[in-house]
């Protein structure tokens, strides 16, 4: 096994010399975190509940969103920000449902950052009291590090992936509040072990909520919508409490 995750850097301490040493103590992601805080303040002011959807490529984020926005659009104003390295295919799929979508192409980039989301949000219609879905670039590694200003991350995992994916990519499962296990209609064909997947996910994140869905058949979506409505009502209550 070649363990590239191990830290061969050791415990080096900057050498003491006659040169000037400047104490800095600043977060590397400080700039992104400041922009994410700006986004969060804007979402808050617009009473918008923002979700950051993350997954491997092909887990079914877009199909899941197409179904969800079609079925929720009569209840809430909805906007979607789509992140991909190239093409506007995903935004077009969302727009076909009648919901506004902005495509962000990251080019060589492997994740959305807070600046991109802020710019995309400017271009969406006003979502007053609604829901913003941000579909991140399909990648279980990099998007974990970048706060976009969302209320929480939702990790989409599909039954065609290995049950041990939460252990292989722990940062993302640790960062998410909800795991949606998609393609559950295929589970019997695949000998998919649901209990083992959930156990592994809770090893890295004991508090993660789990739901099974099928974007193809619609199975499990009513529970997902109930979860969204609960989060939305909770945000609303917090808002009212703040306004006194």
């Amino acid at each position: 096994m070649l363990d590239c995750g191990a830290n061969p850097a050791g415990q080096e301490i900057a050498g003491m010399s006659s040169e000037r040493i400047i104490q800095v103590e600043r977060d590397i992601l400080g700039k992104n975190d400041r922009l994410a805080a700006d986004n969060r303040a804007r979402f808050h002011a617009d009473e918008v509940l923002a979700f950051n959807l993350v997954s491997s490529p092909g887990a079914g984020k877009t199909s899941l969103l197409v179904r969800a926005v079609s079925e929720l659009k009569d209840s809430f104003p909805i906007g979607v920000i789509e992140g991909d390295q190239q093409t506007s295919n995903d935004a077009e799929r969302i727009r076909a449902t009648g919901v506004a979508a902005i495509q962000v192409n990251t080019g060589k980039g492997c994740h959305l950052d807070a600046a991109m989301v802020g710019q995309a949000y400017d271009r969406l219609p006003w979502l007053n009291g609604g829901i913003l879905f941000i579909e991140n670039v399909g990648n279980l590694v990099c998007p974990a590090a970048f706060d976009l200003g969302e209320a929480c991350k939702i990790v989409v995992f599909s039954t065609t992936e290995g049950e041990d994916k939460p252990l292989k990519y722990p940062d993302m499962f640790a960062a998410a509040s909800l795991m949606l296990i998609n393609k559950i209609d295929l589970a019997p064909v695949l000998d998919f072990d649901l209990a083992r997947t959930v156990e592994y996910a809770r090893r890295v994140n004991p508090g993660i909520e789990v739901m099974t869905v099928s974007a193809r058949t619609g199975e499990g979506f009513s529970a997902f919508y109930a979860w969204i409505r609960k989060r939305w009502a909770k945000a609303k209550r917090a808002e009212m409490a703040m306004q006194g």
Binding site: C4, P8, Q23, R26, D171, A174, Y200
Partner: protein, 113 residues
């Protein structure tokens, strides 16, 4: 390769510090990277050289101090050290762990001329 984006963040910090504290050359950039953060130190070093090439940090050495991962074990009611997120509690073997430290990614100090 989000290490590339992180290195751009480091260079941004170095350039801001250079303006604020008037220095023209950076010899060493010292980072503090938590064991549970989103960074592979080797990838970071590789990217840093490339990103620093046309900047004030050109040729600077990147030093990385790794801070240990810490978690609160809800079963034992005590703080324990872990190396990975999926590791069990070293005391009870359970997974009821809440990470409390080791996620930092900071520029700690600079050695400048």
């Amino acid at each position: 390769m989000h290490e590339m984006a992180l290195c751009e963040g480091i260079i941004g910090i170095v350039e801001e510090e250079a303006r604020k504290r008037s220095f023209a050359k950076v010899n060493v950039v010292c980072l503090e990277i938590g064991a549970l953060s989103h960074v592979a130190p080797e990838a970071m070093k590789f990217c840093f050289e490339a990103v620093a090439a046309q900047t004030i940090a050109r040729g600077a050495r990147l030093e990385i101090v790794e801070t240990p991962g810490r978690a609160w074990c809800m079963a034992c009611s005590r703080s324990v050290e872990i190396k990975q997120r999926y590791e069990p509690c070293p005391c009870c073997g359970g997974y009821q762990l809440q990470v409390t430290g080791g996620e930092e990614m900071r520029v700690r100090e600079l050695e400048v001329d």
